[in-house]
């Protein structure tokens, strides 16, 4: 594509993905238009909308234990999701080109099984699979698994790195030319050692023969989502794309520059790692109408009950006695081990709760905000709000100014939350020449403009 911006720099092409609405308060279940979060028809609807709009891929998150708060299962958000691999394999039957990306944990799985699941998914989708590699260490999640919570927090990235190395060796254990299936000569397999592998590290000691012939993409596209120093380095070393949380222009640019600068150390070009922030959007006939809708959605997302629960996650205390329409608690947050909320990534973030409480009290006082108002205020507004023209312009600016390479769009409604975006914003991006009008390739690597995977026997772990 030869389009240029006014500065003469070639226009970057935007990558777009659809995030199936998640198990958190962003997803509005109380709206009359909200459908099932578990019936296959909901997944098929979103996937078909995304494919109709020529999106790069559909994305599924995962959590391996239901969240709890105050020692009980958290009941205010959408709860319940399918098995990632299984629903993606089924979606391969109702789509032709759309990439299928799933989150799979490297702690409570083993490489041989995950590699054969991804290689199988890649065959069954003719080269459309992607793996968002996540780590966990907590004994809480481990209670659902045979091995229990065996991993120390400081070892989680080492295990993830080794898990990926082991998986790459499994994917590479077939070169791709072994299956001859020559009926005349009676030779099925051209190499009696096809699939041989051996991998030893501090976490794994495995060897034998892998049983799935080489996948169409060689291996799935690899995503990484962690934002820590270790996570960024892990992504620079191993990932094809990053699922980032930096959805504002300034934060996006800083993150983008930081991560892309790390690539050279691994002999990689800036284009070989795509940075895709997860963002939200609200569309309207006018900007004012869109902002009004956005306000309504934020109030749907934060009910009074939800506001109390979100406050408890910072206060680390039972605040069920407080009135959400009343003022913030005078009591200070409990500092130390987090005991109120379990099974959530957000409570692991190391912000100083006392400082947060001070900041929020000051804000509530200055603007005369109740608990619920305050939580709505600090939860942040949707990333992109406005008419389709405004949203298209802002999305494009975000990418052209190097705050990202595209977006993972998280609609707040299941399953129709992407329909309007597909019908109104996508055509405007296409008119600008920054988004495809037809799929040009058939694999997800091709959609993402990633270099092809070359067959390389990966090194033994250090």
């Amino acid at each position: 594509m030869s389009n240029e911006s006014s500065s003469g720099k070639p226009l970057k092409r935007i990558h777009l993905a659809a995030h199936f609405p998640g198990v958190n308060n962003t997803t509005v279940w109380s709206d009359p238009q909200a459908g099932s979060q578990i019936e296959f028809s909901s997944f098929a609807h979103l996937a078909r909308t995304a494919e109709r709009a020529k999106f790069d891929f559909l994305f599924l998150a995962e959590g391996l234990r239901l969240r709890e708060q105050n020692g009980r299962i958290y009941d205010l958000d959408v709860v319940g999701r399918p098995d990632t691999f299984t629903v993606l394999a089924a979606l391969a039957a109702v789509t032709d080109r759309l990439g299928l990306a799933g989150t799979i944990n490297s702690t409570f799985n083993e490489p041989y099984e995950v590699a054969r699941q991804f290689a199988s998914l890649d065959h069954l989708s003719a080269g459309r699979s992607a793996w968002n590699v996540v780590t966990s260490w907590d004994a809480f999640t481990g209670e659902n698994f045979r091995r229990g919570g065996f991993l120390r927090e400081e070892d989680r990235y080492a295990r993830a790195r080794q898990f990926l190395e082991a998986s790459w060796q499994l994917f590479d254990s077939w070169r791709g030319d072994e299956v001859l299936a020559d009926q005349a000569s009676g030779v099925f397999l051209g190499d009696p050692r096809a699939g041989e592998f051996s991998y030893r590290s501090s976490e794994f000691d495995i060897s034998g023969r892998f049983d799935v012939p080489r996948a169409p993409q060689g291996r799935p596209v690899i995503f990484q989502a962690g934002d820590s120093e270790q996570g960024r380095e892990f992504a620079a070393a191993s990932a094809d794309a990053i699922f980032s949380r930096h959805g504002t222009l300034d934060a996006g640019k800083a993150f983008y520059a930081d991560v892309k600068a790390r690539l050279a150390r691994y002999g990689r070009s800036p284009d070989s790692l795509k940075i895709l922030p997860a963002v939200t959007f609200v569309l309207g006939e006018s900007d004012a109408e869109a902002h009004e809708k956005a306000e309504v959605v934020r109030r749907q997302q934060v009910s009074g009950q939800t506001a109390i629960k979100l406050l408890e996650q910072v206060w680390n205390r039972d605040l069920s006695g407080y009135d959400p329409e009343g003022p913030l608690p005078e009591v200070d947050p409990l500092v130390g081990e987090h005991t109120v909320a379990r099974g959530r990534a957000s409570v692991r973030m190391n912000r100083d709760p006392l400082a947060v409480a001070r900041e929020w009290r000051a804000l509530a006082e200055a603007k005369n905000l109740s608990i619920r108002d305050l939580v709505i205020e600090v939860s942040g507004r949707q990333s992109f709000i406005g008419t389709p023209a405004r949203v298209a312009e802002e999305l494009n600016r975000f990418v052209q100014e190097d705050a990202g390479d595209g977006f993972i769009l998280a609609p707040h409604l299941t399953p129709g939350g992407l329909d309007e975006f597909a019908d109104t914003v996508v055509p405007l991006l296409q008119e600008r020449g920054v988004f495809r009008t037809e799929y040009e390739g058939s694999t997800l690597r091709e959609h993402l403009d990633l270099p092809p995977v070359t067959h390389t026997r990966t090194k033994e772990a250090i």
């Binding site: 299962i73 799985n109 083993e110 659902n144 096809a194 495995i206 049983d211």
Partner: protein
Amino acid sequence: MPASPAASPSSPAASPLHLAVALDGAGWHPAAWREPDARPKELFTARYWADLAAEAEHGLLDLLTIEDGLSLQSEHPFEPDARTDRVRGRLDAVLVAARIAPLTSRIGLVPTAIVTHTEPFHLSKAVATLDFVSEGRAGLRVKVSARVDEVAHFGRREPRALRLEELDSPAGRAVLAEAFGEAEDYVEVLRRLWDSWEDDAEIRDAATGRFIDRDKLHYIDFEGSRFSVRGPSITPRPPQGQPLVAALAHRGEPFRLAGRASDLAFVTPRDADDARAILAEIRSAQREAGREAETVHVFADLVVFLEERPGAAAERLARLDAAAGAEYTSDARVFAGTPAELADLLVEFAAAGLTGFRLRPGALPYDLERITRGLVPELQRRGLFRTAYEASTLRGLLGLPRPANRYAAAAPADAALTAASA
């Protein structure tokens, strides 16, 4: 939906036969991939499996199974081989089943899963999800692995080489009892996790802001000697409540697992008397487990080579054997003949008390087509097989009720509600 009075679950003796087809690679004969209509280069494509499933559904079969293992196929039961003249390599069976689920609408989908090296929590939600994507047609066949190479693929257990000749020694029996005991625990965890959400747990109550009634979600707290699992599942209760659990069984320990934990046993009798003896063992294990009120189907496995012309199937089998360089042997009885002869044999076996058959096509798609286009019409003429699908779920096709939730039953008021809505 056309009603079929003979299909009433209350009169199993009068029920027509149930038929399953066992899909594996290019068929069960090692030279099947060299047959003219075989598609050996397509074994790793979705289209191949979708076409087989469509043919099986066209034939109104109850269900299809998909073989699997966590290692390359081998001639040896416990170790790998280095052969290059047979089909090697396969795709994950649960994912193949999921891939064909949206393309079919009535046939049951029963992939194989190894329980020895996998996590029951993952498999439970995978099969529940298969049940959602197929709208109530999921099952799974649980398989115990005794292969030393699979142990090394996971690196989590001590390898224990097993020899066929030691299976009947006290040490061999102890190994089997341990492996199948573990499988029984595994199935118990699957079943508890499927029940860990009550059917009406999702309430979406805007007034109280609650999406679920968490009193209707249950910790399963399974504590066994080998592992423990807390729960609840992350996936709601699937459409069938309990997807179908099947097991292939050849001897004492697996018969015990089949009787105690499964809904459907695949067995390998040589003749009708053998079938009677096997049924007695399974029914005894079923009684011991207090399950006499439940239906446990027992299907005989047969490897089939079918031709309309008398004698032609045996000729084809001989030709395949010549290509393979060895006479074909199997754990199951091998049948080569006409569809009418096979129908006669099925009737004879069924008289022993078997409720159906799992046919392993010698070659694919050839023998599957002889089943759906030859055997099925023959059985229909005799009034022994359905002429239309009479139910939309796999449990429904097998005459199994949708079970009440074990956790809901603990509270009498809730149990009444569940029964009313079932």
